[in-house]
Subunit: 352 residues, 3 copies
């Protein structure tokens, strides 16, 4: 339970209404209760504003009067960003305090270097020459390989694996089950068999990167796989060897990025998008979910390639016809040749 005033003191914004109002939760506008603080990030939800009983609503200047007529209001240029910072402040205040130190059950090799104010959880294993920088948190049952480095203030949830010589930057978050630095998938064919190409590179992850649960980032074959500062990766993503992902790109769940692809900065890739290997995507490209990118994209923009869903019976007919699409085009062309476009009437001013 906090007083509304405390929120504004911490996070700014213009408070309209009673600063002593008690706030006990953050809730979406549509279901907010009297003790809740909520927000309107999108004009679409404006209709819900008047009827909401939320204790306080965070709004943009354009909704100031409308919101104030209803009750306590915080006015701020970007209510969604304000909401994000509010959740951070809330989590820091409400969550149990972090304990520091090395849990007695963790196995830490003596040559590992452990910074100040580090927390290492139960049953974690930290191999020789690993470096855990100041303020980092290593969750229970994590595995940190030989010579790996975890940056200052980075937090690894339980059961994360960071393999030999891979590095994670500062202020990162890595979720459970993520595997950083498994071997890339590289083989040379040899008379019907596959000869392993040992993966000699590593993974280098920048600052402020978040990596989702059970996501895999493979080590490079010769050089490194590189994830730049500020990249956000959701769960169950596969990133192949030698991939490079530019600053502040965000990638949704179930995406696969094949080896040696280079993704630009400030891109977004929707869920289950698939990026083929050895291609390049420039900055500011947005790929729709479920789209396969099979060649380089050299122009910023929004790209899609998804088969549209339909009732199954309709799909059956259209998909069967799709197998004849090229032939249909030939038939269409043949018809056009037999029935040439008539010349325009001689006195048509539009066509003159």
């Amino acid at each position: 339970m906090v007083a509304l005033r405390e929120i504004v003191e911490q996070l700014g914004g213009e408070l309209i209404g009673d600063g002593s109002l008690a706030i006990d939760c953050i809730e979406p506008l549509g279901e907010a209760t009297a003790g809740a603080i909520s927000f309107v990030s999108n004009a679409r939800y404006r209709a819900q504003l008047a009827g909401s009983v939320a204790g306080c609503v965070i709004v943009a200047p354009s909704l100031r009067d409308e919101a104030a007529a209803r009750g306590a209001t915080i006015v701020t240029p970007d209510p969604y960003l304000y909401y994000a910072r509010l959740t951070q402040w809330w989590a820091a205040r409400m969550r149990p305090a972090r304990t520091t130190g090395v849990h007695a059950s963790a196995v830490v090799e003596s040559s590992a270097r452990i910074g100040r104010n580090v927390s290492i959880g139960a049953l974690a294993s930290i191999e020789a020459d690993a470096v855990i920088e100041d303020g980092a948190t290593i969750g229970a049952q994590c595995h940190i390989g030989r010579g790996a480095r975890i940056g200052a203030s980075t937090r690894l949830a339980a059961r994360v694996t960071v393999h030999d010589r891979c590095t994670v930057g500062r202020r990162g978050i890595v979720h459970s089950g993520a595997v950083i630095g498994a071997d890339g998938f590289g083989f040379a064919p040899d008379r019907g068999r596959w000869e392993k190409i040992e993966q000699l590179g590593a993974v280098v992850i920048g600052d402020d990167v978040e990596i989702g649960a059970n996501t895999c980032i493979d080590r490079g074959a010769l050089g490194n796989t590189v994830i730049a500062d500020g990249v956000k990766l959701d769960n169950l993503i596969q990133i192949g060897h030698n991939v490079r992902i530019g600053e502040h790109t965000a990638i949704a769940g179930c995406v696969g990025i094949a080896g040696s692809a280079v993704i630009g900065r400030h891109c977004t890739i929707g869920g289950a998008g698939m990026i083929a290997g050895h291609l390049e995507i420039v900055d500011h490209v947005h790929i729709s979910g479920g789209t396969l990118v099979s060649h380089s994209i050299r122009k910023p923009g929004h790209y899609t390639g998804v088969y549209p869903i339909a009732e199954n019976a309709a799909w059956v007919k259209n998909a069967a016809t799709l197998r004849h699409l090229h032939a249909m085009r030939e038939r269409l062309r043949a018809l056009e040749e037999r029935l040439p476009e008539p010349p325009p009437p001689p006195d048509d001013p539009q066509r003159a």
Copy 2:
């Protein structure tokens, strides 16, 4: 090795033939040996019946005479369901007895509440205030977060993670590598960077739910992610924050469900189906494998959206043509305008 009589005493059905027959395995009809019990669940496999040397075959009433002419038979209205129950009985009888107690190597915080008849495996870690209800099994190397609850008789395989405050109901099964309660993927854009939205909700899982290996279910942003009773999830599924999945829905492997999607009851989603966020799917909807659902589905039924496979050379031609499909439609329309459908003959009775 069991006598056929024991099976019928336990599971019911009408036994035709010698109850003392020794059964030593369950096998598919096509490869069943003389010591096996098998079943015909589908008329398609009827042809295999006469030639099978299986010791006993489970059949529906419609195949009673045909099966009895062959040898020992169990007649039951639903042979596939009978087979399912037989596997359960068989597993309970054949598998090594479960040991109860807390393994000496497990790390259990003193404030965790451990019920009666609980089994906690080697090197598991159980944090403060977690609740493990009666008869639950926590596999080796599992991690149970602070304040999480595992319901009575639920079984977690080795290396499962259940994060803080998440709950799993009764009689559930969670397979290895599953991650329940990682952060949802939520960020507010801020001048080209992403500001984290702390995920303050949890995951609430009902009774009789099965969750596959390496499947991820994210915690809600403000409220909870909810998986209702009887839901079955296969491996490597991604379920985003705030998703709700209705009772007895079954979802195959590699499916992704984006944040805030609401899936009805008794639905099925085929492998690698992808469900976009913030949409609703009503009860009794069946989505084919590989289909992307991009908008709400308000009518029960079977839906598909998959590009049909072909030999690569044919695909190349048709896919290239697909890029001109809209233009083809315009050309078709133009041709139709130049060649209007002839009027029906005046005396055509079909068209009158």
Copy 3:
């Protein structure tokens, strides 16, 4: 740092140039430094050859003169294969020595059989009757179930799970987070609920198999799931129960293979390909990434089914038109009937 001569002594090939040249790394041709050994595996990269400052370049006989004019050269029939073997030799030489023995923190049941020269990492758990053959490596925090078997010289990275009675052959590599032997996804419907079919089979993996990070291979329902010798599986692959994969087939990341599919030998499946259940694919079939295989493939070849990517605005138009494709074909046919192909001119010699 090695002398070039040592490489050729170990791996063969014809050395042109100074055998005492010091090599300190392996690098791709385009970025190779003076201390590097590099290779040209593909005529595409020939142009980079003359300008490269690499200490030594591995080439095919066709490039011998061109390469030798530049500097030290190794000539070998298959430079890519030579490169693969070079990485193996390099890794064996440069990586820290493997330690053998059972880490004090590992939990090994007394009935488990541990071979000679085995390494068992920190916090691993090995259940009763498991067999770890000579020279095998069990990484930190692995879980080996009751009666499972890990073949000679096989290496499990940290945090691998191999469940009860499953077997991995010799000289295999299994990456972190892989789950071998979770239950297959099998249920019988019972009045709107799902009755579990206990999965009584196991997983049998041949020799020289590599399995990627967080990949799942489910145990068979009655028989076994079988992965033959020499198969290579990338990360985040799902393999359902009773699947059989033939020798030396290679499967890229994010692929799903549904239950009871049978895949031939020497096949390749591109990333995010999806194989439906209960079908058969013959030997030497190549499936493009992102393709859904919905029926058996009985002829070797290259198959594809991917919706082509486009700028979003173009996609919207074409995808909308696709919903009317079958109707377009009907309209095309109607036009053709109204405008029959003209007969050939009577004196056309081409058509006579």
